[in-house]
Chain length 495, copies 2
Amino acid sequence: VAPARGLARDLRRIVGARLSITPVDREACSHDAWPRNLIAVARGAPPARLADVVVWPETEAEVAALLRYASRRRVPVVPFGAGSGVCGAAVPVRGGIVLDMKRMKRMTALSANDHWASFQTGTLGQPLEDALSSRGFTLGHFPSSIYCSTLGGWLATRSAGQCSSRYGKIEDMVLGLRAISGAGERLRTDVERQPDLGALLLGSEGTLGVIVEARLRIRPAPEARLMRGYRFRDVASGCAAMRRVMQLGLRPAVLRLYDPLDTLLQSSGHGHGFRRLGALLGPGARARAASILVGGAAGIGRALHLAVGRAGCLLVAGFEGPSERAAAEAALGHAELSAAGGKDLGCEPGERWLAHRYDVSYQQSRVFLAGAFVDTMEVATTWDRLTDLYESVRRAIAERAFVMAHLSHAYAEGCSIYFTFVASLLDGERRYDELWSAALSTALRSHGCLSHHHGVGLLKLRWMAEEHGAATRLVRAAKRVLDPAGIMNPGKLVA
Amino acid sequence: VAPARGLARDLRRIVGARLSITPVDREACSHDAWPRNLIAVARGAPPARLADVVVWPETEAEVAALLRYASRRRVPVVPFGAGSGVCGAAVPVRGGIVLDMKRMKRMTALSANDHWASFQTGTLGQPLEDALSSRGFTLGHFPSSIYCSTLGGWLATRSAGQCSSRYGKIEDMVLGLRAISGAGERLRTDVERQPDLGALLLGSEGTLGVIVEARLRIRPAPEARLMRGYRFRDVASGCAAMRRVMQLGLRPAVLRLYDPLDTLLQSSGHGHGFRRLGALLGPGARARAASILVGGAAGIGRALHLAVGRAGCLLVAGFEGPSERAAAEAALGHAELSAAGGKDLGCEPGERWLAHRYDVSYQQSRVFLAGAFVDTMEVATTWDRLTDLYESVRRAIAERAFVMAHLSHAYAEGCSIYFTFVASLLDGERRYDELWSAALSTALRSHGCLSHHHGVGLLKLRWMAEEHGAATRLVRAAKRVLDPAGIMNPGKLVA
């Protein structure tokens, strides 16, 4: 506490009263939503290293002053958004200062004529969208964490929203960035400059500096949103249909395919879906569910997949924009999905999806209370490898967890696949680590990428060098030049 | 010659007979199409520094061996495509080895299912497009230099083709790169990796290493291509119409607006357009043209703009793809352009544009023979600043050159503007330098970017630090780590 007090005294000269050394604040800002941390907490593990001080800067100048101070004193700094990350990127593994950015939440400019807006990066997702929406615009970025994630977090992890097939991932929306390097220097990037240095900051997870403001493409709030559900026989045929839609050159706002088990949860709403998962196991489910979660998941998982498999796979498609364009695209999309064997389920499944689309981000505690944990793994690959990757990952972890998956974030050349694991808490972090190791190694062998949009964090750190090869040195070089004191989110990305 | 002989002897161990030290080969590969160089040649200036040796590697391994050798001996290396650059990026200002990549011209893979293909970077544009076209695909990249530029040149300068509003610039088509660093090390980048390190190589103009292969998005060869011309009163109203089309969320393959003078040249075909420019000046044009080109261009230029202004501005719009989608988009586009005040000129102007779309790249010598030079400046800015930028640049150089312009490469947020200057050769490089200095400084003051798609080269080098600010150090850091011996295209980009 003593060094924290000295630190706080110094920092007060920069941010006044906007800092805290109370345990509750330090605790609140020293973790994200990485399930492994929650598992540790659940088994009563001693708390991980906490930040020494939390500060709430309000201006770019304050951020610069804080970083100049920290780099002079070699105090670690972790930029912090809303803590919704699921890979541990925001954990201050060497203590120091957590820079909670949430007071930097202004829209600093909007051009209604040219369809761009600038926001400070501490802005939470929904307020950002609300600010645009009240002026007739949308960012088109709708991660399920939209209520509990910030623009800065999106940029630092290359986030994708549910409408990415039309609007792109967050990195596709960026026109320019304002950042402060780890040395306290002002950086400005612009996609029109050559080379595009902003690409280094996007996905840098706070290791190079702090992105303080972004200029983003915005789009008119859609006049029309045409949602529709389709049933496909299986994952492979649904996959083929998604590919056809994207390769026709259409840009659906939503195009998602759920595997049989995920279809079941989707149909019942994820809210009680996880409860229903238990009910499906029959009478005495509670006790049996526990034993199933301990082991033997493979057989039951297979049986479940078979049982629900008859219901097929739900595909949700949505087109949006100015009425006439949206209608024209929806008609072309409908024709293509029908020709690919999709059974039209009408508007209801799409509307239901829309109404519940953020629910899935808020089920962790419900599952924890049932004695299990839930986690998600998002990888992407080309269409020809998707079903193999899907089957391989399911096989690889079938003994350890229930697995379901959906395909979202479709491109002409491939798609992201989003696995949901549910497994027992009984073995603590060991089962968690084994599960991830098996799942991700298998995905990489099946030519998946390391992460599609959740980032690297602590979870995937050990695969980084393999992923980038010799090019890893470029990340290190950027680190050396922007953060010579090595204070920015140490132990991450290029640790 | 003696050191070149020693160098050649060493290099023969790597590439066998595939090298040359003859003056004609060294001369051929020691320049690009930068007009300033041609002006120097025209006034009989002594030749600039030539490369010592030209080599033609055929494999990635040979490129790696060449770069390892060169970095050990600290011999400069300039990667060379087809020499169509217009900024001097390929000039070997410190001699050394020119790596002519044109023997690395294979398509190494194509996935018809997943719509991507890999090519070696020495592949010329039209053969690349032909290879795809014979398999039912297109890259969608059609720079006017397509017959005399390579994939590697496109990547190294972030090239844009005439259909960029639909297919993107070359950097938008890249899924992954294979490169050899200046130290001879293999680099692999992939857009799905975090961060996207390929962004550093794109636009690096040969200063970090040699891009040897690229995996690119490809699209089905369009079933339908629907071209149409429209007349607008003036640049501002045509601009507003382009903006509306892009902001509706349409993706036209072609959307171009010509200012009055450029409309005139466009209507007559650039081939004899430049001749007609002379004829327009009336009887005795040859002599008068000469005096006009020396000075007094402003008055005549204004008069010309007024005279041809009555004809208005030609806008060419084209939609393409699978028949039904293309038709639906063309109908929406037509409605929008008409509502914006465009007078429908039918298909003919669009078809004519299509037939002559590459002509403009091959007019330099014609203009030189008339005692003048022609150059082009491509900058981009947001819609609200475009007409101001257009007028400001025209005013700034009206005394020194005829100026015309067209708008192409449209985005929802802005557009690129492509100026064509014609000016007298009489003052040699001095007039050229003054012209560029005035034009580009004015464009930057009007919030234009330094380059939209021609690159930096020697021409725009002095503005680089201003453009990137503190972030310039990132480029230098990348250079230090990938090219520690400083051999890669020295004197460029971060010189």
